[in-house]
């Protein structure tokens, strides 16, 4: 698998144990915690999916996007606008539709923004994100700035048989967990594939990748669209969870928050952003109950974490556990060359 710069290798056995343990915990949790927390955990997992999606572009592609909330929110609006007034929309029609709409919009935004680099790419994506925000904020589409309600949650019914009831908090929790699991599996496969390697190569050295014949623009556009479509899944489920969408769902503020989750968790690993999302939301939840000025405390904690753990929260694992693998080679040419000056 492509290693990201600064990646720390926690022993794979520790990883496996942690993975199995968290899977077991996540399967049991909804039956032991109050329903409020079942809902909270579902929300955190959807944010985790959004952070994982963003990291494909930010961590692996080296492109900082500030419009991912727009893809997230747009998918929510697709659900809201296609839900009939008298009953639930079919998830099997509206979810693919939301993904297609977002893919098309992301292809246009990506094709235009990816002509720029660095800070200009950030500005371009911010501008496109805000255009979508104002499209829903300043027009009558979807209730304008007031947002729009989805009165009936989407239904997962095949041939008269209801697979899951999205209105049921526990069912919804498992749908979110399943989506999260599939996202992780998909991204793991993707970043380890030739496509993932080429994407990382283009981030390491764009000119070099071009000189090897890789269509860097096309690779980045594909990664951008894939990432947007995953964000759309999270946005669609989020809209279904709360039965309400508003322009704030598309705003840059959410884009920036997700970016903080990615950086906090660590962009140098696949699961880092998920850890970041859950940690940030958990932190907010705890601080809200303890302090009136909780945002101030949150800010200070985030600053402290960035200073203490520049590799992100996933670095914590590496600190406790012995590292795997490559001891620096002290024999051979490395030494020889130093000797030659």
């Amino acid at each position: 698998m492509a290693k990201l710069p600064g990646a720390t290798h926690v022993s794979s056995r520790f990883y496996r144990i942690a993975l199995v343990a968290s899977l077991l915990v996540s399967l049991v949790l909804p039956f032991v915690v109050p329903v409020y927390y079942v809902q909270f955990l579902s929300k955190a997992m959807l944010m985790g999916i959004l952070a994982l999606a963003l990291n494909l572009v930010v961590g692996y592609g080296g492109l900082v996007s500030l419009c991912h909330a727009a893809f997230f929110g747009l998918a929510g609006y697709v659900l809201a606008l296609t839900s009939p007034a008298s009953g639930g929309a079919s998830i099997f029609i509206t979810l693919p539709l939301a993904m297609i709409v977002v893919a098309a919009v992301a292809a246009v935004i990506g094709a235009l923004s990816l002509r720029t680099r660095g800070i200009y790419f950030i500005m371009a994506t911010l501008a496109f994100g805000e255009m979508l925000f104002y499209l829903f904020h300043d027009t009558k589409i979807g209730g304008g700035s007031d947002g729009i309600y989805i009165y009936y949650e989407p239904e997962a019914v095949i041939a008269g048989f209801r697979l899951v009831d999205l209105g049921n908090k526990t069912h919804f929790y498992f749908v979110s967990l399943g989506a999260l699991f599939l996202t992780l599996l998909f991204l793991k496969g993707l970043v380890g594939s030739p496509f993932g390697h080429a994407l990382a190569a283009a981030r390491d050295n764009e000119r070099r990748a071009l000189s090897l014949g890789f269509p860097v623009f096309g690779l980045r556009l594909a990664a951008f669209v894939i990432s947007a479509v995953i964000a759309a899944v999270a946005g669609y489920l989020s809209a279904a969870q709360f039965g309400f969408v508003a322009p704030q769902m598309l705003g840059w503020h959410l884009s920036a928050t997700v970016l903080v989750m990615v950086v906090l968790g660590g962009l140098s690993s696949l699961v880092g952003p998920l850890v970041g999302a859950i940690a940030l939301m958990g932190l907010e939840e705890v601080l809200k109950s303890l302090f009136d000025n909780w945002k101030l405390v949150k800010g200070l904690i985030i600053i402290a974490l960035v200073f203490l753990l520049p590799g992100g929260l996933q670095q914590l694992g590496a600190l406790v556990m012995p590292e795997r693998g490559e001891a620096p080679d002290t024999t051979g040419e490395a030494v020889e060359e130093k000797a030659h000056g």
């Binding site: 190569a201 000189s211 090897l212 490559e326 490395a334």
Partner: protein, 236 residues
């Protein structure tokens, strides 16, 4: 037989400043060209123009008969030109094998003379270090990896910038030996280096650049016969 690469009246610009002032050069199939000259005379600009990495380039470049002057770098790479830039540009987040395998592609006529095994055969050191990340390699190993990666694309022409700069003498010898292997394979090369004596030993032709133009183009023997040229253009 038509030459592999033909460059006519090539003018390249960085913004408003002109770096190449009408360069003409032709490279035959399997021919090894040494490109020398002081810093800032346009050697790297010429290589980058051939590769399509200089946006504003005018004149004509034909590779295997087809014009590449308006084509994108990735198309030019796929047409059969491989570029090993100064500073190597190894992908630091990929290991040695990944760096090589990602570039693997058959040549234009479908031949795959260069495989992972073959690269490891000529650079055994890379084989020893195969699991290491690109940035854990020494400068010489990075240069071998960069050349190996260029070969994995089974090119017809390799552009090699500052082939041995900053390398220990023993490692530099390995690179020069590699150039002999490349020539024996029938792959054409344009090599830039400061070590004009070693270049004269391996190259078919010596090309001297000065102020964005070709100042001399001839065999190593012809260059030796005119010591004034090296003195004027290399300050030797």
């Amino acid at each position: 037989m038509t030459p592999l690469l033909v460059i006519e009246n090539l003018r390249s610009f960085y913004g408003v400043s002109q770096a190449l002032h009408g360069v003409g050069l032709s490279v035959g199939r399997g021919e090894q060209i040494a490109l020398i000259g002081r810093n800032g005379m346009g050697k790297t600009t010429l290589l980058r123009s051939i590769m399509g990495l200089i946006h504003d380039r005018r004149g004509e470049i034909r590779f295997d008969g087809a014009s590449t002057i308006d084509r994108q770098p990735e198309d030019i790479a796929r047409a059969g030109i491989a570029y090993v830039p100064e500073g190597r540009g190894v992908f630091g987040s990929l290991d040695v094998v990944e760096n090589l395998v990602m570039a693997a592609r058959p040549g234009r006529d479908g031949h795959s003379n260069w495989t992972l095994e073959r690269v490891f055969e000529v650079f055994p050191r890379l084989h020893q270090r195969r699991g290491h990340g690109g940035l854990q390699l020494s400068g010489g190993e990075q240069q071998m990896l960069s050349i190996g990666r260029a070969l994995m694309t089974n090119p017809d022409l390799i552009l090699l910038d500052e082939a041995t700069e900053g390398l220990a003498p023993l490692i530099a010898q390995e690179i020069w030996a590699m150039l002999d292997i490349i020539r024996a394979e029938g792959i054409a090369t344009i090599v830039v280096d400061k070590d004009h004596r070693s270049l004269a030993r391996v190259a078919d032709r010596m090309v001297v650049m000065a102020k964005g133009e070709i100042a001399f183009d001839g065999t190593p023997a012809a260059l030796r016969a005119e010591p004034g040229i090296l003195e004027r253009h290399l300050g030797i």
